[in-house]
């Protein structure tokens, strides 16, 4: 079995027994929400309702209520779509890729990161559906027989690949997440004091009882799903990037896009995980599980991914200049953009994604919660600007100078974005209250290889210890049940 090095920092602080883990994970589910939870929940619901209003207005009046124009025909909507999809990627990275790499620090954050993935993909899916203008015809994207021939979907189009990729990603993520939740729901069910909780968690836990055969299958299924989800997560953002890269728009038509988008997705997703767990560990009193060590490790992943993204920016900038093509000199990473009317968006991207994150080279900064929290939000703003720059500032200087124009969003577009943030936090807050925040069953398997139980193990009894008389009377009770 894998064990920690003695000199390594433990992944669990405090004296944790199996029962203590149960208590700590069940406490937020069994306790009452405090006033901060209610305040946040109320805010999130208001934002969500506002967003629903804006969506209804868009559907009722048509997407003319957005400020898109003939030159800039993708704006905030697709920016938000790519941003949310990207955020989702860290969840699958943590739960699937790190599972294959046997990184056990993932165990206390994978549950919340997967929840984040699912809610982020739900938010993302809203945008392309709204962008269709007639969302009631959204089923056209599926290969269904229809009255026009049948006129089938075009399997050579990246937009259709997106349909398959995102629906597969969403459903597989839910399955992966829920299968992991089943034993934890069973734990809450078996210690439920109230009748309603008992009924609810009996339903949720699917009658899980922890038989050896079930565990054997469970482990195999988890491992194989992790193996399947790993290429899946890389394929999804690669395909999203193909929406751009296969288009003949300069700035978009770039072979670096798939790896560059995947790195950016993990960068922004890690930032969102940090935003959520820094608050979550405090509010749910899980600081001994999600330790500073975890935060630092995530910061290191973020620094790596941020550097990959930075190199990609540099390559894009250099190649655009080196090509000598006058069209290329107007792409989103070019001097013309940096000093143009969208210079503020260009510099927001560079400052948020490339300059400020350099602070992560300092160990003190990586281990400081305040710096990490602020930085995680800065990076998410930066990654939003990356998508905004790719979309809007690649379009606003079209091939015909007479088409050159400017775009800023209408209140409806802003409202829909605010609404998805509200929806995301509504779901996440409900998740934190009703679902076990940490994958406790899996975590318990590591208790003897890290933390207190590993460094100070209890004396392990051998069969010979029990040979002497008197043990039976002391340690075991024998009774008959009819």
């Amino acid at each position: 079995m894998h064990q920690d090095s003695i000199i390594r920092e433990p992944l669990l602080l405090g004296k944790k027994t199996y029962h203590q883990v149960t208590e700590d994970v069940a406490r937020p589910v069994e306790g009452k929400a405090n006033k901060y939870w209610w305040a946040l929940f109320f805010l999130a619901i208001i934002a969500w309702l506002w967003g629903i209003g804006c969506m209804a207005y868009t559907v009722g009046r048509g997407i003319g209520v957005w400020n898109l124009n003939r030159t800039i025909d993708w704006g905030w909507d697709i920016t938000n779509f790519v941003w949310w999809i990207g955020i989702g990627h860290a969840g699958t990275l943590i739960s699937a890729v790190l599972c294959l790499f046997r990184q056990r620090w993932r165990l206390t954050i994978n549950r919340s990161a997967e929840a984040m993935t699912i809610f982020a993909v739900m938010c993302a899916a809203i945008f392309p559906v709204l962008h269709m203008g007639r969302p009631w015809l959204a089923y056209f994207v599926f290969p269904l027989p229809n009255q026009f021939g049948s006129l089938w979907v075009n399997f050579n189009s990246p937009l259709l690949w997106d349909v398959f990729a995102i629906s597969t990603y969403f459903t597989v993520s839910i399955v992966f997440w829920y299968l992991g939740l089943i034993p934890d729901f069973a734990m809450i069910r078996d210690r439920a004091k109230t009748k309603s909780r008992k009924i609810l968690y009996t339903l949720f836990s699917f009658g899980w009882s922890g038989r050896a055969k079930d565990w054997q299958r469970f482990e195999e299924v988890t491992l194989v799903l992790a193996g399947i989800a790993t290429p899946l997560v890389f394929s999804v953002h690669s395909i999203v990037s193909s929406d751009f890269a296969t288009g003949v728009v300069r700035g978009w038509h770039s072979t670096v896009y798939p790896p560059y988008f995947v790195a950016g997705a993990i960068f922004s997703g890690m930032a969102m995980v940090l935003t959520l767990v820094i608050v979550g560990r405090k509010v749910l009193d899980l600081e001994e599980y999600i330790t500073i060590q975890h935060i630092e490790t995530m910061n290191k992943v973020m620094l790596t991914m941020g550097s990959v993204v930075g190199i990609a920016y540099f390559a894009e900038f250099f190649q655009a200049w080196y090509s000598g093509d006058p069209n290329e000199s107007f792409i989103y990473l070019s001097w013309n953009n940096a000093k143009g009317v969208y210079g503020w968006a260009f510099w927001s991207l560079i400052i948020c994604n490339n300059i400020i994150p350099q602070i992560l080279w300092l160990k003190k900064a990586r281990r400081n919660l305040y710096i990490t929290f602020i930085l995680s939000i800065v990076i998410n703003i930066g990654m939003w600007f990356e998508r905004f720059d790719i979309i809007v500032t690649d379009l606003y200087r079209d091939y015909l100078p007479s088409d050159w124009t400017y775009y800023s969003p209408s209140w409806v577009e802003v409202g829909i974005f605010v609404g998805t943030i509200g929806m995301f936090f509504t779901f996440f807050l409900l998740f934190a209250r009703w679902f076990p925040f940490i994958a406790q069953a899996e975590l318990k398997t590591t208790l003897k290889s890290t933390g207190d139980l590993f460094h100070n193990p209890p004396r392990h009894p051998k069969s010979s210890d029990f040979e002497s008389d008197g043990f039976h009377a002391e340690h075991a009770s024998i009774e008959t049940v009819h």
């Binding site: 079995m1 199996y18 029962h19 149960t22 290969p143 049948s150 075009n154 399997f155 050579n156 259709l160 690949w161 398959f164 990729a165 629906s167 597969t168 459903t171 597989v172 992966f176 089943i182 034993p183 734990m187 078996d190 210690r191 339903l203 836990s205 699917f206 009658g207 899980w208 009882s209 922890g210 038989r211 050896a212 055969k213 565990w215 054997q216 299958r217 469970f218 482990e219 195999e220 299924v221 194989v224 399947i228 290429p231 394929s235 193909s242 069953a441 899996e442 318990k444 398997t445 051998k462 069969s463 210890d465 029990f466 043990f471 075991a476 009770s477 024998i478 009774e479 049940v481 009819h482």
Partner: protein, 175 residues
Amino acid sequence: MSTVYVHALYDDDDKLITGAKKVRSLGYGIKEVFSPFPVHGIDKIMGLNRTRISICCFIYGVTGFSLAFWMIWYMLIHDWPVDIGGKPNYTWYHNIPSWIPVLFESTVFCSAHGMAITFLLRSWLFPGVSPKNPDPRTTDDHFLMITTAHSDQELSDLMNAANSTGAVEVKKVNG
């Protein structure tokens, strides 16, 4: 004597392993083990076969791939070769490279969901199924080993095996 089950409850996974090994070394089988988390190695001690669920997963994947391949060929080549920019889709081998994403996603979709459904069916896990663990502590921090005794001799053997390996509770349950 009718069949009697011995329920041995342990509070540690290592003790459970010791107990299970002891029972097996005496020549008895283990009917069932309930544990709060996967105890590695217990399946081998119990003599459980390796699960074949990953083979099922592969078969579902191949099925998904084949179905997707047939679907795309039928829709894009056979039924209606759409002429896009003067490039009609008449030949499947020219179009295959651009089918890879959908073929891949369909393979993943079918293998993942097929495997999950197979797991839920084989382990009989559904909303509404009532749990079968006899002791609620086995989802918290206890480990339950159930063995079967057909005679008084077997019963005392199994109870002694459980007691001598540090079981915190040993119960005789009439079958």
